[in-house]
């Protein structure tokens, strides 16, 4: 099964626009984690700060474009992994090893298969 691991952290920890010194440290930890995952990593990436986000809302076929992320929260979606795992327990074990700067949450979502 494929799972998306969605990483939620307080992005202010990475400085304004996620350009502080902490970003270098976490990026190298993610690179090491990528090597560790090997073939289990199907895809994934870090995301730029929510200050760069643009949200398009559609209501009754009408689109409104506005500044900012979809939802304001204490922790923001900051990146994701797409992994191959045999079941939820393996996905949980992998998610526990995803590098975080401090506290944070990893949401595990199965990827819809061909059906």
């Amino acid at each position: 099964m494929q799972y998306a691991l969605l990483i939620y952290e307080d992005e202010t920890l990475y400085g304004p626009g996620k350009k502080g010194p902490a970003i270098q440290a976490i990026v190298s930890r993610h690179m090491a984690f990528n090597r560790e995952l090997g073939a289990k990593r199907v895809g994934g990436s870090g995301l730029a700060a929510t200050s760069s986000a643009t949200t398009i809302q559609t209501k009754g076929a009408k689109h409104t474009v506005h500044d900012g992320p979809f939802a304001e929260a204490k922790e923001q979606l900051g990146g994701f992994y797409l992994i191959e795992a045999k079941d939820l327990d393996e996905a949980i074990a992998i998610a526990k090893r995803v590098p975080l700067l401090q506290d944070g949450s990893i949401e595990i979502r199965p990827v819809l298969g061909p059906g």
């Binding site: 099964m1 799972y3 795992a85 045999k86 079941d87 939820l88 327990d89 996905a91 949980i92 595990i108 199965p110 059906g115």
Partner: protein
């Protein structure tokens, strides 16, 4: 065989058969559906031809066939189907001979109580699939409508399938972390039965299911202390049931219950489980909780003094391992007996009342302490707060009587 007897056969066979089918076909909903189908067929077939020698084996075989038919109808499962078909043909011969139903109940319990399943659904799903209780029975126990419970169960089964909850038994090193979710589910389920002191509600046999389930857990995990502790706790609490209400339906507090009305055989069984748990390692929260129950159950007559000092030291030990407001509150009841009402009251004031505001026992304990300290007006208010929140009838009537003790005629 009567309808009730048949129902009993179905219920007893349920966990083993649904577990075995779920493990084999990796589909809880399918396992449940085909088991129901097998039971329906049994009703017709057995009334015509008589009950087979091994009803469980019969049900298993019919359900397994139905499962295979179901899978055949689903085109998407062609590959799995051909594998299973070969397996099934190899197995069906011995299934005919006797009950070769692999015992997958432990696996089934671990699936139902996976941490990815909502806390409120775990116990319900375990009762449904492992104990074979009907959705209506479970709904009554959890005080929700049948529709709500049906939705909760359906959602939990869908989550298990969609999220890829494994059907393999977790490796032994993951048991302690997972076992806790299992035992918490058992405690929640038993708690539902225990709240109803009179056992007049729909929980009467529900408690019996918990006795059965805990002994199964101990059988399946003989080297773990926690299941044995829970098995002991459930039995000790259940043993006191006949003495928990008086002839007029009023709740009787633990220290005033007549020990001669307690069920000795259950207590003896519990002590066996408890010594087993205590021998397996250092005392855990659950072992200490069971020991508190056991201390009470060591009383043989109302004339012998209540075991307050022993219970006090057990609560002190418990507090070191689990310091939460509910443990503190229960401990206060003992403090009042051992160190006096005033010191219990001053400790009570240091508890976070906000956190316990909707917890009926908090107000009941507070009311009792205030009454005994002679603070009549405060006590009356506390009784009113407790009465607002109490759910069980026997307890409500007892509290009402206690409140009448602090009613002073208006002058």
């Amino acid at each position: 065989m009567s309808g009730a007897a048949l129902e009993r056969v179905f219920r007893e066979a349920s966990g083993r058969i649904v577990g075995a089918l779920a493990a084999r076909y990796r589909d809880l909903a399918l396992a449940e559906d085909v088991f129901a189908e097998a039971c329906a067929r049994a009703l017709e077939d057995w009334s015509a031809k008589g009950v087979p020698t091994d009803p469980a084996a019969w049900l298993y075989q019919v359900a397994a066939r139905a499962a295979l038919d179901g899978l055949r109808r689903r085109r998407t499962h062609t590959r799995l189907e051909s594998q299973l078909s070969a397996q099934f043909d190899a197995q069906s011969a011995d299934v005919c001979d006797d009950a070769v139903i692999p015992d997958e109940r432990l696996r089934l319990i671990f699936i139902c109580c996976h941490p990815a399943v909502g806390v409120d659904a775990r116990a319900a799903l375990t009762l449904r699939l492992v104990c074979g209780l009907s959705t209506l029975e479970i709904a009554r126990a959890f005080l929700v409508s049948e529709t709500t419970m049906a939705q909760r169960l359906t959602r939990a089964k869908a989550k298990i399938a969609d999220a890829g909850v494994p059907f393999e038994l977790p490796a032994a090193q993951f048991w302690p972390e997972r076992l806790d979710a299992v035992l918490t589910s058992v405690e929640i389920a038993y708690g539902k039965a225990h709240e109803d002191a009179a056992a007049s509600g729909p929980h009467a046999h529900f408690a019996a299911e918990m006795l059965e389930l805990t002994s199964t857990l101990v059988q399946l995990m003989p080297a773990e202390a926690e299941p044995a502790a829970v098995a002991a706790m459930v039995r000790l609490a259940e043993a006191r049931r006949p003495a928990r209400i008086d002839s007029s339906g009023l709740m009787v507090p633990l220290s005033e219950q007549d020990p001669q009305r307690w069920q000795r055989p259950l207590i003896d069984e519990a002590i066996g489980y408890l010594s087993r748990a205590a021998a397996l390692g250092p005392d855990t929260v659950r072992v200490i909780q069971a020991k508190i129950h056991a201390a009470w159950c060591s009383r043989h007559t109302l004339e012998s003094p209540p075991p307050w000092p022993q219970v006090m030291s057990l609560y002190d030990a418990l507090l070191i391992r689990r310091d939460d407001p509910v443990v503190r509150l229960n401990r206060l009841v003992v403090v009042a007996e051992v160190h006096g009402v005033e010191s219990a009251l001053s400790e009570l004031e240091s508890l976070d009342g906000e956190l316990l505001r909707d917890f009926a026992p908090y107000h009941a304990v507070r009311a009792d302490l205030l009454r005994r300290a002679g603070r009549i007006r405060d006590a009356r208010r506390a009784y009113d707060e407790a009465l607002l929140r109490i759910a069980s009838d026997a307890e409500r009537r007892w509290l009402t009587r206690q409140r009448s003790l602090v009613e002073v005629p208006e002058s």
